[in-house]
Assembly symmetry: C2
């Protein structure tokens, strides 16, 4: 087995992951609709030999909060991910593209088709981040009064994935002859209608697009809830996750890898990539000054909007920012575990209101590491070598500036340590990630029957 | 008023419009999934100063026919249009992109979003060809046992378009301040939720994407049926249509332009672009030889598949190809008028079976002109100057070869005659087509109230 290497994704969200990034001079203020910005950022990530770029997504506006805070947030207007990645695919050669799309609100035939199209356009560099969508500003855009319950969303997600993968297999890999002399373009016996008729979906098929260079796009998952872990273990090839301590990350890593065997899968078939938001300075002081500069840019109304979900119904604008919260809430039943963790942390550390929102505003609760390239590489190496990560989803606080810092300062350090590639290994995202090309289900069936 | 110029679209379908094009050495045999082919074709069309490129589309496989003919057709596997155009947008500068998408089978929020995204990515060069979808291999992909009735499809299309246009207006044009000093990114008072609650759709909004460079993508329509004409008159800015004689085209032109006034629209706000499939030779003999060469490539089973819909239930494979059909069918009630026209023509001209399918196979019944650049320019000029066309949707029989011929031989002839541009007039598709940028509905309302 070749020496194990870090897998790195660049999570290139809008103006950057820090909530006030758009006010920072190192950001591109209109990045959400600036294609030239995204082209240069993708090319920068490719120069850094990143495996992939990634965007989160939701078919609705992001968090609103108070009207005062709403107008102060820089993520409201942005490209749709698949169209964006498609554009970037033809101005890059190696980097992969992970697009988020919802199994609750998209249609399986249309989704299968656009992702297969992206995989063809990129010559095998597409990935789909499967989400069930929990953002409250979405359901109304699809005629609903609330989201389906999480159990329904996850059950539907399993079926949706099965349908989409079936459509991707419509044509066997060798279905196309394209022989001008005989006049035979393809072999109709190697085209298969899915004829799926399930609990949530009824889809005839076949897809009107041949099998893509990767067999099918890489499947990514990003939830850490119990049903999210199970969906990932059953179907995902990479998982994005959020932990702020080595111990938590290790526990998650063990848990998820331990679920694979029951689906007949090997541990290396699911890559675990925690988020890391690196604030990089040539010295520790420089890094800390950068961080402080960013934190100062958070308008109090925007800070409060990040914590008001912990105190539903409360008007936080009356609170003293430099005192601890007047009381600690009991999280509602069913809230995810991060919710509890944050409240406990605030209580234990006696955070002021401002300190609490600054803690969360950095990268929405993801792991922030402030320091020199060596310190950041040390932390990454520790997680990588101690069963906490197969790589990372790098979340630059300010874009493009922090990604430039990472590419110019941290990547060379990781390469010097032999932890990261110096050249791309293959031409497809699967080849670079070391993931197998999935076999076509109909070809497998035919081989077994023979 | 500036001198009226021809508007030209390049309909760049797969290997070309001739049904046997993929067998011709001038075609790119795997064009449906070959992004480099599409890049060079779009750049070629841009070199020719075309207004736009266009693809037809249907979320399902195209015509099947007998198994024998099915495997001999080259259109089965192809990119999804919006992902394709998005990729081409960043490797071109001037040309517009017309993508076909269905109001019957797509979701209005997701459709509004992807087309707005394409308009931003292309910096104002997107258009949507609105179709209601009648291809029988589609409905099963969306859980249905048949298409909704045409009246329902068209009624739904009107509402769908209204929703999509409303979503595109979510942000007023001046909603974004993006002022780092004050920390105000946008003005929430200039963001409008649609809150549409209609017969077919319930959509809250707002869209998570600001107004695009053209206000919204250009709206195109491609049906010539009665409800199609009415939908075009109410909403479209360009219409693609199929006529083979000047008189028919003039009648259509008069009819559709005559419907605009009742919607408060001027005749120049809807461009009428018939299809033309030009087979170009430096001499008439060369052009005719090219055409004969193409016709010879039609396998009889593929030819018969183009006419079997006229004789439903009949096994045409037993017929003598070189004799007239054994009888002429009475078209079913409700069939479109082209159906009747073709049968009448076959009877009048005493076409053999082979001659009939060769007539239809050229460009699926569109206008085929075989001749020198001068002859083709003469025909186009005649239609353009005699109330039959504002321009044309050029349908190259073989791609890329026939488009190269058109760009190198016919375009210069049109330019010499002063009928076509020598440089692009603007930076957006609307500017090049001479179409107004639509006003935002909320801004208009505010202006009226003031």
């Amino acid at each position: 087995m070749a020496h194990r290497k870090l897998r790195l994704g660049a999570f290139i969200m809008a103006t950057g992951h820090h909530i006030a990034a758009w006010r920072h001079p190192g950001s591109q203020v209109d990045s959400g609709v600036n294609i030239d910005h995204y082209i240069s950022v993708a090319q920068l990530a490719e120069r850094g030999k990143f495996d992939q770029v990634f965007v989160a997504d939701s078919p609705g506006v992001w968090e609103q909060g108070s009207k005062e805070s709403f107008g102060r947030q820089g993520r409201i207007s942005h490209f749709e991910p698949v169209t964006l990645w498609s554009a970037l695919a033809v101005v890059t050669k190696h980097i992969g593209f992970v697009a988020t799309a919802s199994t609750t609100y998209e249609d399986p035939y249309l989704l299968a088709r656009k992702f297969a199209s992206l995989d063809h356009i990129s010559k095998g560099r597409a990935a789909w981040n499967v989400v069930t969508t929990g953002n409250d500003s979405v359901y109304g855009n699809f005629g609903l009064d609330k989201h389906p319950d999480p159990e329904v969303r996850y059950e539907k997600a399993h079926e949706f994935l099965d349908v989409v993968k079936g459509l991707w297999d419509s044509f066997e890999d060798d279905a196309f002859l394209r022989d001008p002399d005989s006049g035979v373009y393809f072999d109709p016996d190697k085209l298969h209608a899915l004829n799926h008729h399930g609990k949530y979906h009824k889809v005839a098929g076949p897809l009107n697009l041949e099998r893509s260079p990767q067999g099918h796009p890489v499947i990514v998952q990003a939830g850490s809830s119990e049903p999210g872990r199970e969906l990932a273990a059953a179907t995902a090839e990479a998982i994005f996750t959020a932990w702020t301590s080595l111990e938590e990350a290790q526990a998650f890593y063990r848990d998820v890898k331990g679920r694979l065997a029951k689906y007949g899968r090997r541990p290396e078939q699911l890559l675990i990539l925690p988020g890391i938001s690196p604030v990089i300075g040539r010295t520790q002081e420089e890094a800390e000054a950068k961080w402080a500069e960013l934190q100062k840019l958070i308008h109090p109304s925007v800070g409060l909007a990040t914590i008001e979900r912990f105190w539903p119904g409360e008007d936080l604008s009356q609170w003293d920012l430099d005192a601890p919260p007047p009381y600690y809430p009991t999280p509602e039943a069913g809230r995810n575990s991060r919710h509890h963790v944050v409240i406990e942390l605030a209580r234990r550390e006696k955070f002021t209101v401002r300190q609490l929102y600054e803690y969360l505003a950095g990268a929405r609760g993801h792991w922030v590491v402030v320091g020199t390239p060596q310190k950041i590489a040390d932390e990454m190496q520790q997680w990588f070598e101690n069963g906490a990560a197969d790589g990372f989803n790098v979340m630059p606080p300010v874009l493009p500036e922090s990604l430039e810092d990472f590419v110019d300062l941290v990547i060379p350090e990781l390469q010097r340590r032999g932890l990261f590639r110096t050249e791309y290994e293959g031409t497809t995202l699967r080849e670079n990630l070391g993931l197998d090309k999935p076999q076509n289900r109909y070809a497998v069936k035919a081989a077994k029957a023979a």
